[in-house]
């Protein structure tokens, strides 16, 4: 038991145990936590996309996505999400340099971009379900489409709420420069959501 009590560098004890290994993300363990969470989430999305690809492989009667899905609209959605990633990273830059005005403006634009994306996704779903008669039970094509885009949409919704809370805190003056790591962590999540959409857009819509 006594061996568990560490002495500090001056030989006085008991004291807190010094780290023997440097952290991967010094001073920001939340960032490491988010990276580990994103790695798990990436496996979820990745296996969903892999399953989609495996189901489509050699499936000669797979419906042509171009016939059912709006490529032009989705291209605009992709562009909006990429723009929101830029505004997110500019918001982070703002708060890291103590520029609260820059943070508020760009974070607001990020939230707006997320809401715009969700709105367009909702319009697409409305068209497919209400007008084209597709549902999650119609076919493998529609099931995989709705599951992949729906799961991604849930992530975007979570990201909009996450960023919205930080934005409101910034508007209320409760997010000082010393808390910039909170924005960095949120930024990691938002860029991941954008990255996943880049892959979904390619594999589901274009290929």
């Amino acid at each position: 038991m006594s061996e568990a009590v560490a002495l500090n560098s001056h030989g006085h004890g008991p004291a807190e145990i010094d780290q023997t290994e440097p952290s991967l993300t010094p001073g920001n363990s939340g960032k490491l936590g988010m990276w580990i969470f994103l790695a798990g989430d990436a496996m979820t999305f990745g296996c969903g996309i892999a399953a989609y690809g495996a189901l489509r492989f050699r499936n000669v009667n797979w419906p042509d996505p171009a016939h059912w899905l709006g490529i032009n609209t989705t291209a605009i959605m992709t562009f909006i999400l990429i723009c929101s990633s830029v505004t997110m990273v500019e918001a982070l830059s703002g708060i890291q340099h103590g520029n609260q005005s820059k943070f508020r403006n760009f974070m607001g634009l990020t939230v707006l971009g997320g809401i715009a994306f969700l709105g367009m996704q909702a319009m697409e779903w409305h068209h497919l379900i209400g007008e084209e008669g597709l549902s999650i039970r119609t076919s493998l094509f529609s099931a995989t489409f709705f599951i992949l885009t729906g799961f991604h949409g849930l992530h975007v919704t979570g990201g909009v709420i996450y960023n919205g809370v930080l934005w409101i805190r910034g508007l209320m003056g409760k997010l000082p420069q010393s808390k910039a790591n909170l924005v960095e962590i949120a930024g990691l999540y938002w860029h991941f959501v954008d990255l996943v959409w880049i892959l979904i857009f390619t594999f589901v819509y274009l290929i």
């Binding site: 499936n59 076919s139 857009f201 594999f203």
Partner: protein
């Protein structure tokens, strides 16, 4: 105490890292997205189309990961955490393909109704 000092040092380091030119990265992403749409519209043979689109998508994903998620300036061990899902997913895809391609339920019947609108329209 040491954690607070580390936090302050990291924040200074984070701000001191030369920030990438985010607008330049955005322009590259926009160009790559345009290239993807171009590949899609030009109607290449399927294997070439798939290869080009996957390569362009991966390039975009790498740009986002390196410069927006700041992986380029992070500890290289973090790259292992970030890269592991790609390895596992690639493995999962190649393991699933032979299995699912031989399952009857995984094949779409020739005359299956997908939606209200006939496939030919």
């Amino acid at each position: 105490m040491s954690t607070q000092a580390d936090a302050a040092q990291h924040m200074d380091a984070g701000a001191a890292h030369e920030e990438p030119n985010y607008i330049a990265v955005f322009i590259y992403l926009a160009i790559l997205t345009g290239a993807e749409l171009g590949v899609y519209a030009l109607g290449f043979p399927t294997p070439i189309k798939i290869g080009l689109l996957v390569a362009l998508a991966m390039a975009k994903a790498v740009l986002v990961a390196l410069y927006f998620m700041h992986l380029a300036v992070e500890n290289k061990t973090l790259w292992v955490i970030a890269g592991t899902p790609l390895v596992i997913v690639t493995f999962a895809y190649f393991m699933l393909c032979p299995d699912l391609s031989h399952r009857a339920w995984a094949h779409t019947p020739e005359n299956q109704t997908v939606g209200i609108r006939p496939a030919g329209e």
